[in-house]
Amino acid sequence: MSYTFLFRSLMALSLLGSIPAVHADQLDDVKSSGVLNCGTLGTSQPFSFQDNDTRQLVGFDVDICKLVADKLGVDVRFKMMSVAARVPELNEKRVDIIAANLGYTPARAEQIAFSHQYFASRQMLMVRQESNIESIEQLDGRRIGAVKGSSSERDIKNRLPNSTVTGYADGSATYLALQQKKIDAQYGSEAGLMRFVQQAPANSPLALIETAVFVEPWGLGIRKNEPEFLAAVNQILVEADASGEITEIFDKWFGADTPYAMQRAYEVEPITSL
């Protein structure tokens, strides 16, 4: 086994993701197979997670995938996948579409195609109430924690150039670091942070800084070079928006009856125009 061979294999592998697929149209494939394979994280409440009572996969992303499959007239099959594997899973054709906390950035859009925005995540900062921090700027120079891989740490670094950002394994670990004063603020999506604010013990309350750092548009991930499939998915989203189905799903997971009590404040629209 020579080192050159190994190196070449690695190079070759690194190219795999960028070779455009040459095959029949994916829309036809999905329709003829009768199944839409949807990849989702399974560990991201309330987007996709395992319900403890029924032990079934549920959530906002799960319902969106179901919606797309219904409108295509096919069954849906879910596949749980990790953050690290989600993009290769899609590009290697293990799944047809991914609904997995995919925030749009131009760099990311070089690897996968994004559907219209189906969710907009208000990225916010959460602090300990006793720290009396009320504005984003007050945090410049302080330590900020975020979940590794959940959202772009770069955005917070741009906004607060003197702060250090530490990425933790998950939201719970970041929360613990915040409560233990290892960090001064936790950065994340409004929905995610709200649950911590509500569940924090009374003797160490937390608060969100009112203004969002920025609003991250989320799209469904589709392989590049599948214009017809992408158009079909987009059309489904637009129609479901007009018919009120998207709002219905939103209210089911984020509305007044949920712990989040959020108002829908985004449109289904092309991401690139945002």
Binding site: R55, L57, M80, G171, S172, Y175, R195
Partner: protein, 229 residues
Amino acid sequence: MLEIVREYWPMLLVGQYPNGPLGGLALTLIVAVLGLAFSLPLSLLIALARVSPVKWLSFVTAQFVRVIRGIPLLMLIFWAYFVVPKLIGSSVSGFTTLVCALVVYQAAYLAEVIRAGIEAIPSGQIEASRSMGSSYMLTMRKVILPQALLNVLPSMTNQFVSTIKETSLGYVISVNELTFSANQVNNLVLTQPLQVFGVLAVVYFIVCFSLSRSLRWLDMRIRRSRAMA
């Protein structure tokens, strides 16, 4: 901690089953048992090849072991997940990939442990056995390996236990084993990660400790029966 166990034990024990694929501790055990069952014979073969007088055989296996040991298991699993289907031309499940990656990885490590054991046996023994007319293989089988394997049993036990713990890396390719389930629970409980990981630690401890204790007991018994203790 007890509350977490009381509330979430089905998820930790079997994952989504019967509403979905089997997961949790049950899956961890299945992966670990398969991993051990296949890696032990493979590692013996590799170790024998490595110390064998056949030059090319020992060279090839040495390079194989070297590369495998140089790659973090996490990366190996990740690559196996995307490369194996390309090699065999059909898609394989995350479960199969995890077992394959674990077997290859552990076999490389176990082979090193066994080789160290073989090399610790004084070479005079081989010479004595060979000069009495035994073949190379017979010498290995009857003289060297029994002593070598016994001498390195503590290190081998370590590797077995590692295998169990390393099944947890299946999360990168979404094998919903125990650690994956614990992460899901963590996501539901949210504010008690230390307790959730505490439960996880206790469960792994019980499984691993019983294995290492049984092997230690076996070791003692063999030593006693050979009056070596």
